[in-house]
């Protein structure tokens, strides 16, 4: 009885896992053949990979995506970390106000956020810039920061709550300036929260379609025409037909990168966990 339950659970888990990966694996499998549609095999070749790197369109979109993700993640991390630290040491009413507003972009429908930002940019364009369109790289960047900055805030906040307040005071007593104490005492201790906020910002920005589609304008890598990111380019392509064959090759590359990151994080986590365990063991030993 127990054993059959266990077998059922195993089948359930691995079957669902297989289904979850099926669309991606099919794309990857057909990245080694040149047919336009998946499901048609016209012989093994690496040509799609060569075509991928020659495709100016895809490379530009990829470059745009990475640039925007990196810049917006850096800005979000700085802004969100500073915000979390500042709010943590503010008065209670202030904290409540800040945290209330922080939750809005997290829970709000992305399309509502995107539309509201567009309305703002149109408004500013027509009122301040005499009807000129201000849509471009900067509006896109602001959109992405709005998307990810609250997540940095909520990643950093729990780390601040775990801080020992006496350490900061001790640093001040020992003659450190508040800035120095902040830099040497608080920042290193909340670093894990800052890092996970940064990673979260990166993934949110890399994946985003709606905000990008609403707030982008002309500029960035391709110089003229609307900014294409990977999401908007893929969307424009798949509206008209199947996923372009070159993008099947790109899927494998993205898959490998994601896999490496996940493996890296798992290893890092296990390492820090075992270090903590050793430390704990030592403490128990000594005291």
């Amino acid at each position: 009885m127990v054993k059959s339950k266990k077998i059922f659970a195993g089948i359930y888990i691995y079957l669902l896992l297989f289904i979850m990966y099926l669309p991606i694996l099919v794309l990857i499998a057909f990245s080694f053949t040149e047919a336009t549609n998946v499901g048609v095999w016209t012989g093994f070749s690496f040509n799609l990979y060569a075509r991928l790197f020659q495709s100016k369109e895809i490379m530009t979109a990829l470059g745009n995506t990475l640039i925007i993700a990196f810049i917006s993640a850096v800005i979000s991390t700085l802004l969100g970390t500073a915000g979390a630290i500042g709010a943590f040491y503010s008065r209670k009413r202030m904290v409540k106000a800040i945290e209330g507003v922080t939750q809005i972009p997290i829970v709000n429908a992305e399309i509502v956020m995107a539309l509201s930002l567009t309305v703002l940019f149109v408004f500013v364009g027509s009122v301040i810039f005499h009807g000129q369109s201000i849509f471009g790289f900067w509006t896109l960047l602001i959109g992405h920061v709005v998307l990810s900055v609250p997540f940095v805030y909520i990643s950093v906040r729990p780390k601040l709550m775990q801080l020992d307040p006496h350490l900061y005071e001790a640093a001040l007593d020992l003659g450190a300036t508040p800035q120095k104490a902040l830099w040497k005492i608080i920042i290193p201790q909340i670093m894990p929260g800052i890092l996970s906020g940064f990673l979260l910002s990166l993934t949110l920005s890399l994946d985003d379609f709606i905000i990008t589609a609403f707030t982008r304008g002309t500029g960035l890598l391709n110089g003229e025409g609307t900014i294409e990111t990977l999401s908007t380019l893929v969307q424009a392509k798949i509206k008209r037909g199947p996923i372009p064959p070159e993008m099947r090759a790109l899927t494998l590359i993205i898959f490998i990168v994601v896999l490496l990151v996940v493996v890296g994080i798992t290893l890092y986590r296990n390492k820090t966990r075992s270090v903590k365990k050793i430390r704990k063991g030592r403490e128990n030993h000594e005291f």
Binding site: A109, V112, K237
Partner: protein
Amino acid sequence: MNFKRKYLAIPYGVFLALFVIIPILLIVYYAFSNAGGQLSFDSLVRFFSSTTKLNVLLVSFFIGILNTLLCLLIGYPLAYFLARKQYNTNTVLVLLFVMPMWINFVLRTGATRDLLTWFGINGGQHPYLATMVGMVYNFLPFTILPLYSTMLKLDQSQIEAASDLGANPFQVFTKSILPQSLPGIVSAATMVFMPTMSSYVISDVLSEGKITLFGNSIYLNFSNSQWNDGSFMALIMLAIVGITLLISRRFNKDDFASRGSNLW
């Protein structure tokens, strides 16, 4: 000026005020004004007198609820099996279920559509079936995470006590496991319902434009520069978000914090 730590919150606060609060106020303004900028309830009247728009709202509700139920139905046993030691001891498996979320979402949606087309489930002929498959495929990882974390916290001794005291497996489930995992169910449901209603890409791609959800409708108004109507629909979406939040808050106090920090 003397440095105080609380000053660090100023840029963050200003940023939120400029790009979160003011835009929402502008939406309210546009929703209740006409193209000329005067106060008017035209958008409201147009929305509630248009059968197409009310239909969109109804279909979005229906698909949102159906998707939430399907995700819970599939995700609940999965999370249970993953969290129980007697079925699974491998925590990497949970990570594997979440990993597809890190591959570009539009690309994944396209991949799902191409796969379904290959299998003969064409979006043009079976728009609802194709859309539902795409929705469940995309939102299942979001249900697994909150469910899994509540399943980890299940009080094992209460479950054992229930069966020792004569409850049959079904009663153990309804009287002990289900009530204990309710917070996870509620936060999973909020993570699926609202984003489904307002989604754009999935319904657009998988139904080949045949199904218009609330998100698609807002997008359409936006691309036709119908700011007032679009803003009014966004306001309705905002109200739905607010209501779902109020409901979920009654069950789960730190719903929001868990939403982001779960991922990493």
